[in-house]
């Protein structure tokens, strides 16, 4: 890989962490045959939930934080619990203590303590054509597809290395070629509610690590967030195009591509395939964390139909703090608004066995990551059912 003089300097004479970060980028670049490193304007790192990375991750991060400092604006993924409410959630003290140490290690490195899987909702929105190094698959898909920024699906340590160096290996979704669609996905449905998640789940399964070009429907930025999160869960996709909607769809080359079709029948089958529970003991809303608009909409719904089982609403600390009215309504009606964490990386398995959720990403991961059975349905339907 060709290095600039500054990059060469980091590799030869940087701090321990700078040298290690350069080595990580060289390794990743070598695996991908990348010709060089491309400068980035932001980074988003994953690997912050103690439930997910455990003692091995904590040990590495504390070691690394001794002299690692990020050089571009960097945000970080959700933790394994809400730092302010963990006691009320029944989280063991040892878990919370280690979780706090992970959070401090990231802060020491200069990472903004957003603890959010939706950096694009907390003020980090790279412009069209800008390069970034984001881990967290839903954020990667959103940045590439909706914003037209350029990032690969980075692993946690690779994104952290990129944040320290301020550059990332140039391959895949950083290149024009890597952003061309590989398959046309015709959707014969008028999606609403969880249909966006269902389209994502079905397409991800069929497309694998391809790049889908969707056709046949429209959606708001909020709708595409749910589609992208589901797509990145069942598939290894880092980007999609949606005809007439996403910014790079018009220039995409679709001539001669194979085409597949998703019908309403496919969506019903996928909903059934991801529903294996009969009675929920928790309604989980989030995954990805809710936007301000989504939080307010949920507050209105819950106000009309207070639930008889616990409702945990996941959002970012930024959105929670900016919406005290919505938070107040939800909590008066018996729900909890949690920040710093998200549905499938938080500790659920110590208290619950079946979660009802309208999130495709949640429905996909809850069985394996939280040992939960799932009821997957629209939020209105769920709140009606458990009113």
């Amino acid at each position: 890989m060709r290095l600039t003089r500054a990059q060469r300097h980091l590799l030869d004479e940087g701090t321990d962490a700078q040298r290690k970060a350069m080595e990580i980028l060289l390794t990743v670049g070598r695996l991908a045959d990348a010709p060089r490193l491309v400068p980035i304007t932001s980074a988003h790192v994953s690997g912050a939930s103690y439930k997910m990375i455990g003692d091995p991750g904590l040990e590495f991060l504390e070691d690394f934080a001794r002299d690692a400092r990020v050089s571009v604006p960097t945000t970080v993924n959700p933790l394994g619990t809400d730092l302010a409410q963990w006691r009320e959630l029944g989280v063991p003290a040892a878990f919370a203590e280690k979780q706090g140490r992970i959070a401090r290690a990231y802060e020491t490195m200069g990472v903004r303590p957003t603890f959010s899987c939706t950096p694009y909702l907390v003020g980090v929105r790279p412009a069209f054509g800008e390069h970034a190094a984001w881990a967290e698959s839903n954020a990667v898909v959103f940045a590439n597809s909706v914003l037209g920024a350029r990032t690969n699906r980075e692993g946690g340590p690779a994104a952290l290395a990129a944040a320290i160096v301020g550059a990332t290996p140039e391959y895949g979704l950083h290149t024009d070629e890597g952003r061309e669609p590989t398959v046309i996905v015709k959707v014969r449905a008028r999606p609403r509610g969880i249909d966006y998640s269902l389209i994502g789940l079905v397409a991800g399964e069929r497309v694998g690590d391809g790049l889908p070009y969707f056709r046949g429907f429209r959606g708001t930025e909020g709708d595409l967030k749910w589609l992208g999160a589901a797509l990145a869960s069942s598939g290894a996709c880092g980007m999609f195009h949606l005809e007439g909607v996403t910014p790079e769809a018009r220039e995409a080359r679709v001539k001669g591509l194979k085409s597949i079709t998703i019908t309403p029948k496919d969506l019903i089958a996928a909903k059934r395939a991801h529903t294996d529970g009969t009675e929920a003991d928790l309604i989980g809303l989030g995954s990805p964390q809710l936007s301000a608009e989504e939080l307010q909409a949920i507050a209105r719904l819950i106000d009309r139909k207070p639930p008889r089982i616990p409702v945990w609403v996941f959002t970012s600390r930024v959105v929670r703090d900016a919406n005290p009215d919505a938070v107040g309504i939800i909590e008066r009606r018996g729900g909890r608004v949690l920040a710093d964490t998200c549905l499938e990386v938080t500790l659920l398995e110590h208290r619950f066995s079946t979660v009802a959720t309208p999130s495709g990403k949640g429905a996909y991961y809850l069985p394996s990551l939280c040992k939960q059975k799932v009821i997957f349905d629209d939020v209105e339907t769920l709140l009606e059912r458990y009113a």
């Binding site: 080595e23 390794t27 990743v28 695996l31 455990g54 003692d55 590495f60």
Partner: protein, 263 residues
């Protein structure tokens, strides 16, 4: 013998090998406290990684594996080097954090637990000082979906009576593909064969000898075969039937290298 490899994480190390025939996860696959292998499917459960050259086809499983590898090395229980068929990002990043040399593009099926190995990721090579390498070609001939296998005569130097594909030693610096075409002509009398593809080398182990097999696929215009002294019998079979024959080592892998894995 020395074989070429692709350097992934720089460095040079030597040690005795421990080899797993199956892909490996550092989460659950190894005890993070002492580096002993836990996963039974590897066939090396109970062995310790410390100071060894760890050979496995590729990494799998959780990304936390990167941190486990880092922690093992920090406590002095990590492997001296890693050899893969294809290194995945979890192992690559973990080995980088730990400073463990890694090479890939090596057919680890030819490596044995206990082999002395020198891994040089800077130059991209793997050296087995106690093993003698012999470069050979194997030509898979295909005709209307069937492939040719031949039974080796008593006059050949090795693997007498076993089923094989058309094969022969590479002499000096000659082009392997050229050697394959010559062998087909000599051993079958077939003319007008058409080259289709070449596969990555397969390492077929026979004690202290390693056959470095260069696989080639040709389409044959007919099934009229005239054997020479090297073989006594021939059959055109469907690739999936190969499992029923007593073959030379790793012939199914050589076939898979040009035809893909059996259905």
């Amino acid at each position: 013998m020395k074989i070429r490899a692709r350097g992934i994480v720089p460095g040079r190390a030597s040690g005795t090998a421990i080899a797993s025939p199956v892909s490996f996860s550092f989460v659950g696959g190894v005890d993070p406290a002492n580096g002993s292998i836990l996963e039974d499917a590897t066939g090396i459960a109970g062995e310790r990684l410390e100071g060894r050259v760890f050979a496995f086809p590729t990494g799998k499983g959780s990304t936390v594996g990167s941190y486990v590898l880092y922690g093992l090395q920090k406590r002095g229980h990590g492997p001296a080097a890693i050899v893969n068929r294809r290194t995945d990002a979890v192992v690559a990043v973990g080995a980088t954090l730990a400073g463990i040399p890694v090479v890939d593009r090596v057919d680890v099926g030819g490596l044995r637990t206990g082999d002395r190995i020198v891994v040089d990721a800077n130059r991209g090579s793997v050296d087995l000082p106690d093993v003698k390498g012999k470069r050979v070609v194997t030509a898979i001939l295909r005709n209307r979906g069937r492939i040719l296998i031949v039974r080796r005569s008593k006059k050949v130097g090795a693997f007498q009576g076993r089923w094989s594909a058309i094969s022969g030693h590479i002499e000096g610096r000659e082009d392997p593909k050229h050697r394959a075409i010559v062998e087909v002509r000599e051993e079958t009398g077939l003319r007008g064969i058409v080259f289709r593809s070449a596969g990555d080398p397969v390492l077929a182990r026979d004690g202290a000898t390693m056959y470095i097999v260069h696989p080639f696929l040709f389409d044959a215009p007919s099934r009229r075969v005239r054997l020479d002294w090297e073989n006594v019998e021939h059959r055109w079979i469907r690739p999936e039937e190969l499992a029923r024959f007593k073959t030379v080592p790793r012939l199914p892998d050589v076939v898979a290298a040009v035809l893909g894995p059996p259905a």
